[in-house]
Subunit: 334 residues, 2 copies
DNA sequence: CTGTTAGCGCCTTCAT
DNA sequence: ATGAAGGCGCTAACAG
């Protein structure tokens, strides 16, 4: 790989001059400028970004920690939002997956930091609040996504999960449902799960429906888990006319289980999901769900990170998002 | 951020000694080693990876170009395979999306190269063969995924697309179908589309079924496109008892369109998809498809890249993959 | 075993 | 407008 030195030699100028034309940092005589440009082209010169970063103390990289890129469309959509604004700022994104595992998340953050990322955007599920809080004391700006960390409120871009399931239950109640099951994640430590559960309880309470633990079933939070959870629920033989899924994937799995048992959706059981992932428009029936505006959240998180990085005012960045019902075909009057 | 110098000062040793304990590159007196370790911890020292890369000429990064991370689960699954082996080699992955656009792909590759990636794994759809071929002459090893580039065969990890649709048609023929439509991508330049189309024609030929252009319908290669394409096909009023989708997404969209028209699947129309993306197990009916072993392809591509990087023998890496039928519920005897 | 030294490629004063 | 020189943080000889 050609270096600035090679270019300077070929163009018969000093390396400073070359640097000047690369960065447009000062006036250079047109002829010399031309010579440098030609030499650069001829040698196929690309400035070494490490050397640049080393001296300028700026890597132009934003580090992102996600759960996984392939556990579903969720993080992919978030990345779409993130990258859009990071791209626009002419910076690079470097992604690492924590796989929802404490050790790995820690390691990934460590790696991102070591790579001198200019800012970090973290979706941490497994790390405790204190550890995340401690990160705020290192000099690189940190933004947290989908999690509200006490003491770091102005750095958190998050969705009101409780409000989400609350909406879902309200919707079902308004359609006359009283026996509403909840199909949730078996990861009890998972904040989202706790909050969504809370919303579920709150919704019941609001409607004066007594809570029945028998109507709550948990499993791994994907399609297979949803299938399993509903299987489980059916075995308990507790009647229910509707269920709220922890997420769309579980809802889809649950629906496929019910259909296999010859139970009609939504005629016999109504279903509400959570997230509004793309494919649920193509399952039958089209899933009614609570929209998680994940792409927008990604955008705002990136925006916030960039603002912090530039020391710009970041007070007008929207931090708390509120979910919205998307009514399709999986809910019917009870 | 603390530097090696700070550590050396605090530990009362030279920077070389610090470097030695960091890299385990030589023996160090246990006491000094201890002192260094303590100092590192106290200062929360992290070696600057740019400085390391600058001097060692190794960035420990593998650059990856994908189409998009969120156009579906395809690239996400590929990343899963890639990252697994890159992780195991203790290297980092840096991903860029080309968004199936020529300019962007070019720019992304440029960026990856400038970041001094040790090797590149490219899924280029839009760039011409020659341009890709030219990349092989730069010193960083390059591997191509899902594309066979003449002259770079030993650097391509790809799937035999033609064989895939051929299998699909054979399967339908064996079930007695004779009027088989093909729902394909409207991107005529797209190699995959050409090859899959070829397989479709070959399959018909094999079975002695005359090709009918009226049975081929094209649109954007996602669910919405599949829906639209089938809508189109129906308007032509040409009878068909089955269709092969360019991919699962189109197949799913097509199915949803047929269902809306009151056409039973698979009773009236059988469907075969392509890819075997996760969610099609949760649509009704479960989609019969041709499995694209994308995760395995990712693994092998990464393996190949790593081998090239280390100058190791790479002759035993599997380059050409063959698709396999996955029979589920969307095909019925005609 | 340990410290000194010379760069890696680039940017940035500081003279000229 | 231009060049020389110092240094970013680190590794790798080279002496001791």
């Amino acid at each position: 790989m050609a270096t600035i030195k090679d270019v300077s030699r070929l163009a018969n100028v000093s390396i400073s001059t070359v640097s000047r034309v690369i960065n447009n940092t000062a006036q250079v005589a047109p002829e010399k400028r031309e010579a440098v440009l030609n030499a650069m082209k001829e040698l196929n010169f690309r400035p070494n970004s490490f050397a640049q970063a080393l001296v300028s103390k700026r890597s132009n990289c934003i580090g992102v920690l996600v759960g996984d890129l392939c556990g579903g469309p969720f993080f992919a959509q978030m990345m779409l939002g993130l990258e859009r604004v990071i791209d626009r700022a002419n910076k690079f994104t470097i992604v690492m997956s924590g796989n929802h595992d404490e050790q790995r998340e820690r390691h990934a953050i460590e790696a991102l930091l070591q790579r001198q990322c200019d800012a970090l955007i973290l979706h941490s599920k497994a790390l405790p609040d204190e550890e995340l809080l401690a990160l705020m004391h290192c000099e690189t700006p940190v933004v947290f996504v989908n999690r509200l960390i006490p003491g770091a409120e102005e750095r958190c871009v998050w969705l009101d999960n409780k409000e989400g399931t609350l909406c879902a239950v309200r919707h079902l109640v308004s359609m006359g449902h009283k026996q509403i099951a909840f199909v949730t994640s078996d990861d009890a430590e998972f904040t989202d799960a706790k909050q969504r559960f809370e919303g579920y309880r709150l919704g019941l309470e609001e409607a004066g429906i007594p809570f029945d633990a028998q109507l709550v079933t948990a499993a791994y939070a994907d399609e297979v888990g949803g299938h399993r959870a509903i299987e489980n629920l059916l075995q308990r033989n507790v009647p229910f006319t509707a269920f709220v899924g922890f997420n769309d994937a579980m809802a889809a799995g649950g629906i496929s289980c019910l259909l296999e048992h010859g139970i009609q959706i939504p005629e016999q059981v109504s279903v509400v999901g959570f997230d509004d992932i793309p494919y649920i428009r193509f399952i039958r029936p089209k899933l009614t769900t609570v929209k998680y505006p994940i792409e927008a959240i990604g955008e705002h998180a990136a925006e916030l990170a960039l603002r912090l990085l530039d020391g710009k005012n970041s007070e007008d960045v929207l931090l708390k998002f509120t979910p919205e019902m998307v009514v399709r075909d999986s809910v019917k009057q009870a």
